[in-house]
């Protein structure tokens, strides 16, 4: 189990930002998806073996009132620039998954100088009518694992005959906070104009998709690569939208190779 330490940094204007840290080595910023930051996350655990992973918690995840300070996608990009500044990580390596990858791409597009290497894992943020992104907010909760994962090993066991345990209110509250935060920037269509800004990204970029991603089809990898000046893509077979959970070693190997090729 990775040990995450939690502390709070002060941003410009005095706002507080929750940051989780784990591991040692060259710094790497991890921008989480709708599932938040979790000690059991297999890719974060692997990254921490060779990096000082710094994982800021997205606005709203700790307290929905934080969202009042972040009205739209541009203010979200500004918020993350404040975070990078407060952490002293200008020119960092930024790795994001799903919603977090959208934020990473927006940060790198709004502030091209702040991100040196960018890894976008199953990023949302683009939209094509011929292959629309799935509306995850309309997927019934019991069916969600089958949309998020391609590998049946990650599907929950079929419900038994026993009494169904009542839901834990704190779990529901935490889920509601996270999903509300994500919805603010993804509802009803997770396209806030990123496609019109991708050309501004100067960071070397790696795009990673699960070949069987049922949320953002892996064909979107080509759209990211085509619009970002210096980008390559890796598509991991047998994995879905949760590719960093389903295939952490393959994703890690791709990131390692990508970072190793970085010019000194």
């Amino acid at each position: 189990m990775t040990v995450l330490t939690r502390d709070t940094v002060e941003l410009r204007g005095g706002r507080a930002q929750v940051v989780f840290r784990t591991g040692e080595g060259p710094p790497l910023v991890w921008l989480h998806a709708a599932d938040g930051v979790d000690e059991g996350h297999p890719l974060v655990r692997e990254l921490a073996q060779r990096h000082a992973v710094v994982a800021p918690l997205a606005p709203g995840f700790a307290d929905l009132e934080e969202l009042d300070d972040v009205r739209d996608i541009h203010e979200l990009a500004m918020h993350y620039e404040d975070v990078i500044h407060a952490l002293g990580l200008e020119g960092a390596t930024v790795v994001g998954h799903s919603f977090g990858a959208m934020i990473a791409a927006e940060l790198a597009a709004h502030y091209p100088g702040r991100v040196r290497e960018l890894v976008l894992i199953a990023p949302v943020g683009l939209w094509r009518d011929d292959e629309p992104v799935t509306d995850i907010f309309a997927v019934p909760l019991p069916e969600l694992p089958r949309v998020l994962y391609a590998d049946p090993a990650f599907f929950p066991p079929a419900p038994g005959d026993g009494e169904v345990a009542p839901p834990d209110i704190e779990v529901l509250v935490s889920l509601a906070r996270g999903m509300t935060s994500v919805a603010k920037f993804m509802w009803p269509i997770p396209d806030r104009g990123l496609g019109r800004r991708l050309h501004r990204i100067e960071a070397r970029t790696l795009v990673v998709f699960g070949a069987e991603d049922a949320v953002v089809p892996s064909s979107y990898a080509e759209d990211f690569v085509a619009r970002i000046a210096d980008a390559t893509a890796v598509v991991v077979p047998g994995a879905g939208h949760m590719v960093p959970v389903e295939r952490p070693h393959e994703v890690l190997a791709a990131i390692d190779a990508f970072l190793a090729a970085s010019p000194v």
Partner: protein, 415 residues
């Protein structure tokens, strides 16, 4: 006590086996496949006839409401229905339980249309400002549920300022910016018609209604026993804010079927009521809970009852016995109905009762029968309740001698 005739205007031709064939009555129910506009023509006219009949037999108000992309309620614009009703009704107040303020851009449109209706109807409008169901707002209209309530509150503030301010003004809101707010016409009722807030049980709405002096109308189809927790929460908010517990602060809606006997009620009403509960309320949970629509405070307070409601509604199929025993429908002889409504108004402290005497696919003859018997035999026995309280949530400036639609001459007179 006051009595309002509430129409949902469901589509009455949803096919048998509906629950098995279609995942939802709302949002993605295919209109080309299921809605026949020629049938719809007759449906709208019958529904308007029913509301107009309710005026004729003496209901205090007739209620319309707003829903989108569904077979549950065919009034995407309640204002159009109210406009149609304004000319053929004389006495009943037009209780517009829409408009879902956050869906209008700019929301000043609502101030304009309500004022038009109030002027046309001679000051008979009651203005409802619902947030709107999650299906209507977050899904059918794609409003962001994370900001919906903030947008809604801001819209209500803009509309009320537009009616209250003496001179044109500028409004610099988060969601609406207007350099010139000056809607014409202004309502007959000054500064504005009574404000009713139809709610679904959000805790923050209770204090807001109490503090703003709005009527709180709890719209549930699950009967008064289920509603008790919500209405207790509202009355606690009234007390917390140091206000008198005037029953006319509150409204509630209830399905009612009046007949000679409980057995006749089942004959007359069970099929239509079950049509409503088993088809019109066929909504998957995912559409009921978009993230952010329900506040954290409401989640904490209401999870057990929400879970219970969800389980009740998602039961594979309800029977007449289920819905009568649980109080979803109050049906039976006049005595039965009076007894149950007495208990309801005592339990919930409701001065304004909205009754649904049409439900599901109930034929027009049965609707008129139900309406006439309710007006003639039930209302008189309940009318004196709460007579000691003054109703501050009801139109006061209604014109004593409103214009009537003039007879149309065969040819224009020579001026």
């Amino acid at each position: 006590m006051k009595f309002h005739w509430f129409h949902l205007m469901p589509y009455p031709y949803l096919p048998d086996g509906f629950r098995e064939k279609y995942p939802s009555v709302w949002v993605d129910l295919p209109v080309k496949e299921l809605y026949d506009p020629e049938l719809g023509h007759h449906v709208y006219h019958e529904y308007l006839d029913e509301l107009e009949f309710a005026d004729q037999v003496g209901f205090d108000g007739i209620c319309v409401n707003e829903h989108h992309s569904n077979g549950y309620g065919l009034m995407p614009s309640p204002n159009l229905m109210a406009a149609a009703l304004a000319r053929r009704t004389r006495n009943a107040k037009l209780v517009v339980m829409g408009n879902s303020v956050a869906l209008y851009n700019p929301p000043i449109r609502v101030a304009e249309e309500m004022a038009m209706l109030d002027v046309i109807s001679g000051g008979r409008v009651v203005t409802g400002f619902p947030v709107g169901t999650p299906m209507d707002t977050a899904f059918a209209y794609s409003q962001n549920p994370a900001t919906l309530r903030e947008r809604y509150r801001e819209g209500v503030e803009l509309i009320l300022r537009a009616w209250r301010e003496e001179t044109p003004f500028a409004f610099n809101g988060t969601y609406t910016q207007m350099r010139y707010v000056n809607p014409w016409p202004r309502p007959i009722q000054q500064p504005h018609p009574p404000i009713w807030i139809p709610g679904g049980g959000s805790v923050e709405t209770w204090d807001w209604c109490a503090q703003q002096g709005f009527l709180y109308a709890y719209l549930s189809f699950l009967g008064y026993e289920f509603a008790r927790q919500t209405m207790d929460g509202f009355w606690e908010a009234v007390e917390r804010n140091g206000l008198e517990p005037n029953p006319y602060r509150a409204g509630f809606n209830q399905f009612v079927g009046v007949a000679d006997s409980d057995a006749e009620a089942e004959d007359l009403y069970s099929e239509a009521a079950l049509y409503f509960f088993n088809r019109c309320l066929h909504i998957p949970p995912v559409y009921l809970n978009p993230p952010g629509y329900t506040s954290i405070a409401t989640i904490r307070k209401s999870i057990p009852s929400m879970m219970k409601a969800g389980a009740l509604m998602s039961a594979s199929s309800l029977t007449w016995k289920d819905i009568v025993e649980r109080g979803y429908v109050i049906a039976g002889s006049v005595d039965t109905v009076v007894d149950r409504l007495t208990e309801l108004s005592d339990t919930l402290r409701i001065g304004h009762l909205m009754v649904q005497l049409h439900f599901g696919n109930l034929p027009k003859d049965s609707v008129l029968y139900n309406t006439q018997r309710f007006a003639a035999e039930v209302i008189p026995r309940l009318r004196p309740r709460f007579a000691e309280w003054e109703d501050h949530w009801w139109p006061k400036d209604t014109l004593a001698e409103p214009a009537n639609p003039a007879p149309l001459p065969d040819t224009a007179p020579v001026p």
